[in-house]
Amino acid sequence: MKSKIIKIIALVAITFALGSCSNDNDEETAGVGKLGVEFDNVFGSSNLILNTQNNVTSQGETLKISDVKYIVSNIVLTKEDGTTFVYPKAKSYFIVNEADAATQEIALENIPAGDYTKIKFGIGVDKTQFDLGASGQGDFLTIADKAGMLWSWSAGYKFVLFEGTFTSASVTTPTSFMVHTGQTGTDYNYTEVTLDLPTKALVRTNITPDVHIFADVAKIIDGKNKIKLSDNNEGGMGAMIMGGTNLPLITANLSNMFTVNHVHND
């Protein structure tokens, strides 16, 4: 009887021990949590203020920006151990709009708990999705239509929309500019950006980190590739950059437009 009781006690003790061991490990990285990704638009070293702010490029052009919108999609998060989490594709299309603060904070849900060190995202709608036509678009066409991010002369999305007026040495009266990137007949113009997180984003069931990204809109036309609006001002009617060879140059600039300024783990 005694030995039996001792065995039972031993069995129970071991069970507790084992049970509590595994519980300790699971509590840290079990379950799912949320992650906030904030897209904060800036111009160079200033915060971006629409319409009134004078923004000067390295090409000596002064821009007053009225509109900045871009499609963010296909978000992939990388953990410290190198494994990745691909955010469900159908839910991964967002439109960031400078004029609408609510769109600048993207709330991602059901992220497996863990320590994340990298974030990757696309600017635009990827070709794989676009080639499916309407399949898998869900409501996104409607959302894009409402946001003015659909072309109507061609059935495509605008990936980046960047508009305002500009002046320069050769263009002295404020003249409008519109930069729209997207698929053209010759180039698809979708690009992906991978950013290292300066501190780890600790996603837990009870911790929702916030990844605060700065998007330097100056880089759209004044990055690795320099595009002069004054050189694209046909007949003085405005710099309309919506196709042709400028778009791949602008698209190449986009990978340097984004940096992670900081990560909160609250």
């Binding site: 676009f130 080639d131 499916l132 036509g133 309407a134 399949s135 898998g136 678009q137 869900g138 409501d139 996104f140 066409l141 409607t142 239509d145 409402k146 659909l150 109507s152 002369w153 061609s154 059935a155 495509g156 053209t184 007949g185 010759t186 196709g243 042709g244 060879t245």
Partner: protein
């Protein structure tokens, strides 16, 4: 005795149960048959397989003026079935508020076999094509948000979306897929010419028509190739530029200098019904078209080399050849397609 009568009274009450069957209606797939004389299908059926209710929904959308900003201009407003889904007699069409565009309404036929759409190839996916006329301010001037609100409030649309799509959602994806299914099923393959090609009864061509076919193969088939009568390429066929419009064609999409003034080679099926001709509808008769090729071709940097051989511009055609060609082209008229009730508004 009484029990019998009781049964007779009670039994009919059970007959109403069959009405419940409507609520569990099963959507029936539609077979897409490739005619033996056609090239292979280009449309990917796996992402949007046509079904009875999907087609019905697509047709309802096609003929619904409420998709436009003025409530009148449906797709069917310009795309009229008896004209092979073109706009009889109109060089260009008028959209909402009588706004006018710059291009002639093209036919809707056999689009499932094409890989690029619109005169300038502005889109490569059939499901996305409707976005262009739907959102164009001078055509339907519509927007998805309003259209979806309209459909969500309409019991007929609610029912159709629910049955036609597994997720039953009224959204832009399903709206475009329904239209895609409708367009995929619009196949014109039963003209007298088709029957001749497939050795079916009713497929006899007269000597004049056969002569015309021979002229066609010698002088036209290099661009108007296959039994779909197009090689789907973009070419400049020497039309004088209309300075009021200066339509640069494919250049607008690619911005390549080599694409200036190039337009897609159209299919010639049902050509008897699709006048006027060319991207801007400038020729009212087939005779005028052939005379253009014979004597009206203008040289330019992007003129197609086929129309500039050995210093001769265009394609020389005698009067007799023109008559025979036109006789042949009329054999491409497909009355079954033009009158098929499945595609009709009423």
């Amino acid at each position: 005795m009484q029990a019998k009568y009781l049964l007779l009274f009670v039994l009919p009450l059970f007959w109403n149960c069959s009405e419940d069957a409507d609520d569990v209606y099963k959507n029936i797939p539609l077979a897409v048959e490739v005619p033996s004389n056609f090239p292979p299908l280009a449309y990917d059926l796996s992402t949007n397989p046509p079904t009875e209710k999907g087609f019905e929904l697509g047709k309802k959308l096609f003929y619904d003026g409420r998709l436009s900003s003025d409530g009148l201009v449906s797709c069917g407003f310009c795309h009229i079935q008896q004209d092979a889904f073109t706009h009889h007699g109109h060089t260009v069409s008028h959209g909402v508020d009588n706004a006018v565009g710059t291009r002639n309404t093209p036919p809707i036929q056999n689009l499932a076999y094409q890989t690029t759409f619109m005169y300038d190839g502005a889109t490569n996916h059939l499901d996305l094509q409707p976005v262009i006329p739907f959102t164009n301010p001078v055509e339907m001037n519509g927007n998805f948000t309003k259209a979806i609100a309209m459909m969500k409030a309409d019991p007929e649309y609610q029912k159709l979306f629910k049955i036609a799509f597994t997720d039953g959602e009224i959204n832009s994806e399903n709206m475009l897929k329904a239209l895609g299914q409708f367009m995929v099923m619009l196949t014109s393959s039963n003209s007298r010419f088709d029957k001749y090609r497939r050795h079916e009864s009713g497929g006899t061509l007269t000597n004049e028509e056969l002569d015309g076919y021979a002229v066609f193969n010698a002088k036209c088939a290099s661009c108007h190739a296959t039994d779909l009568f197009t090689d789907n390429s973009f070419r400049n066929n020497g039309l004088p530029i209309n300075p009021a419009v200066n339509d640069v064609g494919r250049y607008r999409v690619t911005e390549l200098a080599t694409d200036y003034y190039k337009f897609k080679v159209p299919s010639l099926r049902n050509i008897e019904k699709t006048a006027p001709y060319m991207h801007d509808g400038r020729f009212f008769t087939l005779e005028a078209v052939l005379e253009h090729y014979n004597s009206g071709v203008i040289a330019s940097e992007t003129l197609d080399p086929i129309l500039n051989k050995n210093g001769t511009l265009g394609i020389l055609l005698t009067e007799i050849e023109k008559t025979k060609l036109i006789a042949f082209l009329k054999t491409l008229t497909d009355n079954q397609y033009l009158t098929d009730k499945r595609f009709s508004e009423f």
